[in-house]
Chain length 799, copies 2
Amino acid sequence: MQRIVSGDIKMNNETPAISDAEIQSLNAWWRACNYLAAGMIYLRDNPLLREPLKPEHIKRRLLGHWGSSPGLAFAYIHMSRLIVKYDLDAIFMAGPGHGAPGVLAPMYLEGTYSEVYTNKGEDEDGMRRFFKEFSFPGGIGSHCTPEMPGSIHEGGELGYSISHAFGAAYDNPELIVTVMVGDGEAETAPLATSWHSNKFLNPVRDGAVLPILHLNGYKINNPTILSRISHEELEDLFRGYGWTPYFVEGSEPLEMHAKMAEVMERCVLDIRRIQQKARASGKPVRPRWPMIVLRSPKGWTGPSEVDGKKVEGFWRAHQVPISDVKTPEHFALLNEWLNSYHPHELFDEKGRLRPELKALVPKGIRRMSANPHANGGLLRKALRMPDRQQYAVGVEKPGTSLAENTRPLGRFLRDILRENADNFRVFGPDETSSNKLDNVYEASRKTWMADMLPEDAGGGELSPDGRVMEMLSEHTLEGWLEGYLLTGRHGFFSTYEAFVHVIDSMFNQHAKWLAMSRDVHWRAEVSSLNLLITSTVWRQDHNGFTHQDPGFLDVAVNKSPAVTRIYLPPDANCLLSVADHCLQSTDYINVIVCDKQKHLQYLDMDAAIKHCTKGIGIWDWASNDQGGEPDVVMASAGDIPTKEALAATVLLREHFPDLKIRFINVVDLYKLAPSSEHPHGLSDRDFDSLFTLDKQVMFNFHGYPWLIHRLAYRRTNHKNMHVRGYKEKGSINTPLELAIQNQIDRFSLVIDVIDRIPVLHVAGAHVKEKMLNRQIECRNYAYEHGVDLPEEDAWVWPY
Amino acid sequence: MQRIVSGDIKMNNETPAISDAEIQSLNAWWRACNYLAAGMIYLRDNPLLREPLKPEHIKRRLLGHWGSSPGLAFAYIHMSRLIVKYDLDAIFMAGPGHGAPGVLAPMYLEGTYSEVYTNKGEDEDGMRRFFKEFSFPGGIGSHCTPEMPGSIHEGGELGYSISHAFGAAYDNPELIVTVMVGDGEAETAPLATSWHSNKFLNPVRDGAVLPILHLNGYKINNPTILSRISHEELEDLFRGYGWTPYFVEGSEPLEMHAKMAEVMERCVLDIRRIQQKARASGKPVRPRWPMIVLRSPKGWTGPSEVDGKKVEGFWRAHQVPISDVKTPEHFALLNEWLNSYHPHELFDEKGRLRPELKALVPKGIRRMSANPHANGGLLRKALRMPDRQQYAVGVEKPGTSLAENTRPLGRFLRDILRENADNFRVFGPDETSSNKLDNVYEASRKTWMADMLPEDAGGGELSPDGRVMEMLSEHTLEGWLEGYLLTGRHGFFSTYEAFVHVIDSMFNQHAKWLAMSRDVHWRAEVSSLNLLITSTVWRQDHNGFTHQDPGFLDVAVNKSPAVTRIYLPPDANCLLSVADHCLQSTDYINVIVCDKQKHLQYLDMDAAIKHCTKGIGIWDWASNDQGGEPDVVMASAGDIPTKEALAATVLLREHFPDLKIRFINVVDLYKLAPSSEHPHGLSDRDFDSLFTLDKQVMFNFHGYPWLIHRLAYRRTNHKNMHVRGYKEKGSINTPLELAIQNQIDRFSLVIDVIDRIPVLHVAGAHVKEKMLNRQIECRNYAYEHGVDLPEEDAWVWPY
């Protein structure tokens, strides 16, 4: 065995030839895969065709996707060959949709599947069960779901294979991530830009990604774009993306094996040469990484025609190539097809893969299906965390001093970067500075492997060694982060609130992955995905209406309560406390909403930790109900809504000194949900003791107001809860003016309270008028001067 | 004037030279633009610098984005020159974020701005107002918002300029869409794949898109990828995408004008040659369309250094180049910079652009700012609609026959395609057939300009003349459709429910565009965006958990009630009725949820029209309360939930013959919202008369259940509304088994009713047990056979 890792590569530019015997063996192994893939779709019994095929052996409902399976298994065995030859550390990702049969088959043949699912052994009975459960209720999916060993990329929603692959490769210098990209998938937006990930991979410290673009030719019902442009355009495209494409094209299996063996070995050797050179010099320059374009027929080795219509090499091979097997002609065709793989030559009398074929593939954790990187929790080390206390903002007195909420977090992240230099990265779409997290650059620059210019020295903060990942693609960043986490590392992603919707669907899919993973006994816990949503709706100022959308939370709450957490820290210390907690958690998606601008600070660090640990609480200093029953409850969640609610509280106390007000702040949004619906939900008793059984509750919320009703509609006092939030009213606004438009402002809240408490109606009439006048003044001032009324803008807590 | 349109082009391959005098004029016009762009950011008074600049002339808060403005105006004037020279019909889209100053300036200079906003006239006072209102409360945004004449692309969220441009160009054979693409924007996922739109544009019948990739060099805080790869890679990339890139690179204005004039003229002539050739031959082949790469300094002509730090040509020029103008040095620098444009040379004593400069640009609707394509409602013709009755599914008796819900719609769309052959297209991401809309291909094939193979004839349904748009990119399709609608045409988009989240953010932005447009007095109404969400959560069968997500509705309801409409037709005829209505509506986004599989049919066409027109109603045939007060209300929204609710109704009637059940079906989801919140909302009186004041209501819902609470929480009887829906529980499931997992199944509903109605508790105990047993049987049967219990699967309405 010839182990090639950085530093000890000794080879010239020639790729060793592959012998005919080896080709025959590879082909046999591949035939076994293809047989298994077909078997999964069709057979519920007689898995080895020991007896003549009968209708009762065939599944009643034929489900599955044959089209991309042979190509996937083809690439898998060729990579496995090189793992054995060079003792490579490699994993495999399947981008093509519904590609599971092409990956399940190799994983079963490698024995991993039987190891984790012991009732699907490597024998005839195990194979029967393995076939039956495929795409079957209670069984395994037609995507590479979390239940599949070796998988960290499901591919149910297309577009993320390359970004996941890069995420896995970062900071894993010896790892090669083999990633099949479907040519359908390649049309998606996220995939199209993710090819540029090569400008963010440093050959000195990162591993390698070996993409195999599978020009399978067809999607469900259409040819693919990349299979229908000229060879020249295709080559230009990938050279333009910065890759060196190698082409493996054809359909005759033995010839294709010879080509693939040669090309893939060349690619692996290229990768090691690039790494060796970079690591020897210590000076990383962006190489042209190799990639493979595999053009093979869709449904390769399947039936070439059914009913006189082309199937192999056409879109009809996408799913089940012979869909109705009840007619004698179709049945005969299926029989002929399945037997064409000669399963008896591949499996022994017990149904085990023959030893000479078994010997072809790697052993133990070198099997791509058993590589611990694909069960990253096994490799995960806890983050070394500096003491959050050191980053605290001093708060002498609540609500009297200002700070940028996110800046202390930037310092915290900086030191986490310093103390975890090989397994923690910070992600943001060109917004890390804008989001005031730029202190992170003191620990690490921005990863940059594209060209540098002299002026970059003067504040560009770019470096091949950077660990801050910035590209103007939320999709790519999210994909990188997911791949990084699923391989056992840690990360933090900050992004603008309105544009986090760009990755709604990626969030959904990752949440589903995590929820499923929790039920997979052999999957170890991975670090949570930490998402800071900042530059929020209330402080868009001149950015206008397009930048106002707090609706990501409405997407988040639909996902499994086992994996979703939502926090709205009202100030800098609370944000530190929340982030500290989230960064140490596992298997969640933590959504943290906190604005980056200067805001009032309320809690010192001890109080913040206490408050955030509870997740919800009465702020005694802002309440005057002295622990007794209040006349009205003022509640808030989010920074600006909290400030406005506090300002309203002061106005109320000024105008109605006898009114007893309880002030509640919510950090952990799920506290509002019933405890039966979410593990963080307050018991009804606790909820009632906070929100009372029958008092008026004004709830000032960061997001769309209905979310609070959705969470709290079952609570005793829900009928008295009046929620204010963003109501899709905005343009270019000053902060207070925007608040007024959406009625979360201090004046509107005072009016609300007066309107809802009958004893205030008479005495409150003139107060209401005053409030309405203040609103008009504010608006007029904003339209005249472009800023809020100075006295309201400078508001502080007076008591 | 030399008019070049298809058919009468007579030119050789030479580009006419531009004279020095013309260059000087163009440069003066451009200087005027740059002056205005700087003025918008800085000046609140003294707009023409007639008196020496004083601090009080400067805005208190400096907002805006200078960086990309000069490049935008540069391209604008060069296109304007060619419009004049060749009488072109052209519009302009600004992709770069916050690019408004670079487009507002030319629009003001063209006079269009003053025409629509008469208080911002072409004089000193108008200019002062024009400056002041920029990025100012109550004013105009820093993006190309709907308030801006000539704009149909806001660019607040980045990534859609190219797809919008193609959407505008389709079926507009004479139109040239000039589209600036920011190099930051070019990193986004949607932009990266949208370059492939050239495989879907037919030079015979469609117009042209002339992209100008603006290599401005920097984003907010980082260089851009495309500006930091080699010239060779960049050229390869665009050649690979199928374009012919022409490079205009430099910083010296006069040289750059000469280069740009030459290159742009060459591009326009190339476009016309391509079109002429294709139209003369009638045989469209995919040409290599020209595009321009404009590499110019960020913040071009702005201050080169501030405080010794590089500004022009660096990311510091992104927003306000001199941010603090209170120091004497900065004030002097600003003064020098503003005066460097010599405004007195450009504007006359009244503040009007000097006539010789005014003469440079097109007149009337040839001005890009006044082109009616950019106010597409002006050009919109109503769709010619066939009678929906012809497509009706026969329904003898409710709930007894099956049909694929979407298939009749496919026939309806086919005939709409036939009758509106120049202004209607159907969009779907490779799923039109999968979604059972394939009858549309009888009227029109799929647009395809990439390579064709012999086998495409046998069912590929591809053609350069196709009007069914299929690419595996929801982003690109949505962008095309938006561009198509905003230029006055009609369309229909169908997509898988789970993956419509891919375009959540595009939906949000389009909804915001429409909501703003309603307040712009001069914008004419455009056709609604019609989105059919199908392949829904309840019928994913073997696709599994990744394909189960009905949460798009939760995104939709956050947007302005003025523009959002949501329909859940329960069967094929209702879908026809809803689609018929939506296709004729304007200025909405109509979200229609309906599955593609075979489902029970309930209403004949007359009944369907009646029901859908009301949007909500009692189904008398399914109720046994005889118009009196029921004991329980069974309500449903969505196809599968309706079937299950009906099946539960039958079980209840069998077991409790005296129980009076009212059955309500909801098609128009907003009927549930208060009438104060949404124009479709029922009055409380009407709601109460349907849902009663105090009876138990079981609501079986298609989506996540909380959405119903969100809409109905203020209703009188809300406390008795029990909603069932998808609760994020699923894997590979048979339909009924998935329903059981999420408790929307017939058995769970019966149990719910028994549990909630005390008089049923005793008699119901054995019924509950029976229901629980049926659930277990169903699950066991599914796990054994892979299908539902035949007797439950074949359930029909028995009365």
